[in-house]
């Protein structure tokens, strides 16, 4: 934040437009560069949450999957607050392969 932004905030004015321009550009370029449309990103977000929530209990509301870009490199950043780890469904998982092996 610059001094101007701070003064603007104090006076309840809109922030200077250059800051807005930069933020909007960074967001739109992250999408342009990865060639992912918001719909695909949303689908990916849902699937990632689904996979992760099989192992740990996550806060879906707080969960955030977004694209960030720096130096022309775009990264998919997932921020998923963990409420608690789930008890591992180890027994069930282990018995499955044995069962399928005996079938074969």
């Amino acid at each position: 934040m610059t001094l101007r932004d701070f003064v603007n905030k104090l006076l309840g004015r809109q922030p200077a437009s250059a800051t807005t321009a930069k933020q909007r550009l960074q967001l739109v370029l992250a999408h342009d560069r990865s060639d992912l449309n918001p719909e695909l990103l949303e689908q990916m977000r849902r699937e990632i949450l689904e996979v992760v929530s099989r192992y740990v209990e996550i806060d879906i509301e707080e969960g955030d999957v977004s694209l960030e870009t720096e130096d022309r490199v775009t990264a998919l950043v997932a921020n998923l607050p963990i409420r608690r780890t789930k008890p591992l469904p180890a027994e069930a998982e282990e018995s499955d392969p044995v069962w399928s092996a005996s079938q074969a």
């Binding site: 934040m1 610059t2 001094l3 101007r4 200077a16 930069k22 370029l29």
Partner: protein, 274 residues
């Protein structure tokens, strides 16, 4: 891949978005290079909407174009229009817009290859957009200068173009930031120079301040660099030419262009506090 002619350079001037100053940069850089003794050819690769001839004041002297050269109905030197005041500069005019129907990247490579045999630098004025016209022009270049203005639409389009240039292995790719308004930048109502270079991750080849003289010079068909003008844009174009030749010329600081108390307060307001 373009044919490499030792020592000669082919530089694409592109932007993605239209109207940000590609042709003006090509004309002014071409003249500035020529004045430094560099044998320079400027190629109008914008066959659809050609204008380079107009900015250079050569529109009435065109006899043949790139089209006749390609079809073999004239020699290259017959089509080249030499600038009267600056004989180190020659223009190869764009052909008929119908050329777009059959023109291929190989054709552009042929033309540029021919130019590189007799010139030190070939500047290719690229059409706007990222379609065939761009691809044809980019296919004939080894280096690129991307020009943009500090506006979201221009920066976004520049980013697309840079991505395409990167995949083609064109390098170096350098940036020219055009129509910079120091006052608006100081008021943070225009993207800062660093914002643009950070976002596009390109080295800055030049900063051109918004300058009314550019319009005056295009009205006359006499690029600013032709007559030793000392206007801010003329200086910027001359500096860009020197940097293209490898000279180390410091960039202007838009914040220092403005003097006085208001400018000082403006700079203070720019300080990052957290």
């Amino acid at each position: 891949m373009p044919v490499t002619t030792s020592g000669s350079r082919s530089i694409l001037i592109c932007s993605g978005k239209g109207g940000v100053g590609k042709t003006t940069l090509t004309a002014n850089l071409g003249i500035a290079l020529a004045r430094q003794g560099v044998r320079t050819a400027v190629l109008d690769a914008d066959f659809g909407l050609r204008n380079l001839d107009l900015l250079l004041g050569l529109e009435n002297r065109i006899v043949y174009t790139a089209q006749e050269v390609l079809s073999g109905s004239c020699r290259l030197d017959q089509a080249l229009v030499k600038h009267k005041q600056e004989p180190n500069l020659a223009l190869l005019p764009a052909g008929n817009p119908r050329m777009l129907e059959w023109l291929k990247p190989e054709d552009m490579q042929t033309i540029v290859g021919m130019l590189r045999e007799s010139f030190d630098v070939v500047l290719i004025d690229c059409p706007a957009g990222i379609e065939d016209g761009f691809k044809n022009a980019a296919g004939a270049a080894e280096e690129a200068i991307v020009i943009t203005t500090p506006e979201v639409s221009a920066v976004r389009d520049a980013d697309r173009v840079i991505g395409l240039l990167n995949t083609r292995g064109i390098k170096p790719i350098q940036l020219v930031l055009n129509r910079v308004r120091p006052k608006m930048m100081a008021n943070q109502e225009m993207l800062a120079v660093d914002d643009v270079t950070d976002i596009l991750a390109l080295p800055l080849l030049g900063l051109v301040l918004e300058d009314e003289q550019v319009i005056v010079s295009t009205n006359r068909g006499e690029p600013l660099t032709l007559n030793g003008s000392s206007s801010p844009a003329a200086q910027a174009y001359n500096n860009i030419a020197r940097r293209v030749c490898g000279e180390d010329v410091p960039l202007i600081d838009p914040a220092k262009v403005r003097r006085g108390l208001r400018a000082k307060i403006g700079r203070l307001m720019h300080t990052k506090i957290f």
